[in-house]
Symmetry: C2
Subunit: 366 residues, 2 copies
DNA sequence: ATGAAAGCGCTAACAA
DNA sequence: TTGTTAGCGCTTTCAT
């Protein structure tokens, strides 16, 4: 009945709105309206159209729709390494949240600045309505300088808004982070309260603002109370490098009795090295604190004291910001800081005579 | 210099190929050709165009390009829960692989059949050139029956090719899996060789072919050698339910001295429960085997014996198949089974007098 | 090698 | 409410 050409060879011609219109005996526009939320169509017409669409197996073409409306409905997401559960789970939550609003997620995997320089233009070609950066490290500043983008950019878990471009134009980027400095001061207090005296820090990537802010709060608070961070190692936010960092730190003399890692993956590496390779007891010989509160942190094998970033709230804030930025292109992107929380588990010692209300809290995702 | 309208208000008009053409003093088509690999343009013209594009900040519109060429360059990916590291890492590898071919990944997060029924049509609206399913459970069969799709579908890590639709039409779906039955027989042999006598199994989702095939190989081989699986619990492929399954299994009498879990996440749960809650030693009191070989399996805290799925090879095979299917729409999708490998670590006992060449192998990703 | 012209499939402004 | 008419920005014959 339909005029399909050459059955089963070549790229079969897809059903168009015109086909549906003809079968339903209405105009193209009627079809368009029948399929658009809140357009003015009679129930009768809509029914005819829907029926025709059904029998023909019609799927409207969102590419064309996006072109015509000058809004694709696609959001770009540049994501860092997904072997970091924190980022992986964040990606899932974000894409689900976007789905609720009928938006599609186009992802680009990259973990270097150079990747962004490729990702951004290629995403812009697809006319994404906006773009997220999911990483405790990546920032679009470098790339955005060289490409005129004109789309909202929002960074999650990071806050590199540093950018003044070559042309002197500021590159405005929204950012959602936590109170890294403040919470890291609390970490210092916790460790101090547990009687620790020799402090070490494992940074993520040296250039990452998250890593630096966490270090600053930790170092500053320790200094205020008369202590210094005696050793700093680099773990690049991943487990493998965390292993090496932990080995270096634990072999030093005096051996640190407190290690704060800029994320959980590295903290887990410390735990594994301390126990399996150095035969140390945690927290007796060395106390360990991580950051993020990934699922593994709550598992019995680790039961890691860590800082929980409010993942769902951060995503929610990011999406709200993005949506606002899309609606009002002249709006200035903001930097939003949410509060993080210390989750005390068994890798730190209890301060004498203090209660720990959040102790033994379960994992973040139920 | 450029005719931008109303500076800084409303959706600023984007630069088009025509703008570039005018500035370069050539035609629209020249611009198109200059930007297309392998078109016939003089170096001179191309240079002029590139320069004009640069100064104008031109980004070609891939949506329109896709519409005109009848090929979007977008691949849909329906992904299961990303808190399963195996799926998360697979997603990263897949999207990177796609990027190499200049393809974009549009992801849809879902973990239920009902999600697929929504995901598929919405992906088809964006004219994805094909769609992957990343899950040890999800299959597009149910949804594909009701929607005419006409795009290649490839399932990774699963093999539900069962589908004969209501209309009697077969829904052809490509699939990349491993030799679940065979390798699970090997698992049975390993456990038997270690002296285990009371066997239990933790299934993923009861309907998942992966889970069923693994169970079948395990049960069959055990039976051949005179043993039965005394208990089966359901862990739904996730850690939390794995915890409950492990508790049930380990509380039973006689207590199993061998537990094979359909994936690593559940096996880790067994390890945590056995040690922390039941005070058992692994592998002395109970041997544990998982499936997938996620990063955590290789970490010292777990050091789990497991079956490694050749992730990178599977993705590669999947992409090859997808690309072939896109080029030749009449090609029949195949089901490809790759070989998996047993990685012996410390949660199983050594068979007397046998060497274990793959013992203590490192994690899959370096 | 280049330009002119014809679409690709849809939405939106306008009439009716 | 409905149909008609213009585009949206690009690629691609077809001439030249």
């Amino acid at each position: 009945m339909s005029g399909s050409q050459r059955p089963g060879s070549g790229p079969r011609r897809r059903v168009t709105a015109l086909d549906v219109a003809r079968l339903a005996g209405v105009s193209r526009s009627a079809v368009s309206r029948a399929l658009t939320e809140g357009a003015s169509v009679s129930d009768e017409t809509r029914a005819k159209v829907l029926k025709a669409a059904e029998t023909l197996g019609y799927h409207r073409n969102a590419l064309v729709r996006g072109m015509v409306r000058q809004r694709s409905g696609i959001i770009g997401i540049v994501a860092g390494r997904l072997d970091n559960p924190f980022i992986a789970v964040a990606l899932e939550i974000l894409s689900r949240r976007l789905q609720e609003d009928g938006l599609k997620s186009m992802i680009y995997s990259g973990d270097a600045e150079s990747d962004i320089a490729v990702a951004l233009p290629s995403l812009v070609e697809y006319r994404v309505d906006g773009c997220f950066f999911l990483s405790n490290d990546l920032s679009p500043q470098g790339a955005a300088k060289y490409t005129r983008l004109d789309i909202p950019l929002v960074v999650l878990f990071n806050s590199d808004m540093a950018g003044i471009s070559d042309h002197g134009d500021e590159v405005p980027v929204g950012a959602i982070t936590v109170d890294n400095v403040e919470i890291s001061r609390t970490v210092a207090d916790l460790l101090l309260g547990g009687g620790c005296r020799h402090f070490a820090y494992i940074e993520g990537l040296p250039r990452a603002t998250t890593s630096r802010e966490r270090q600053r709060g930790y170092v500053e608070r320790l200094a205020e109370r008369g202590f210094a961070v005696e050793a700093v190692a680099t773990g690049n936010f991943n487990y493998a490098d965390g292993l090496a960092a932990a080995r270096g730190l634990l072999a030093a003399r005096p051996r640190p009795d407190a290690i704060f890692a800029a994320n959980d993956l590295m903290a887990l590496a410390v735990l594994d090295v301390a126990r399996a390779e150095f035969g140390l007891s945690v927290p007796e010989d060395v106390a360990v604190v991580g950051f993020d509160d990934i699922g593994a942190a709550a598992q019995a094998a680790y039961d890691l004291t860590t800082v929980r970033q409010p993942l769902a709230d951060m995503v929610e804030a990011g999406v709200d910001l993005m949506l606002a930025l899309i609606e009002e292109p002249d709006r200035r992107p903001e930097e939003i800081r949410l509060r993080s929380h210390l989750i005390e588990r068994s890798t730190t010692r209890q301060p004498y005579g203090m209660s720990a209300p959040e102790r033994a809290a379960g994992p973040q995702e139920a």
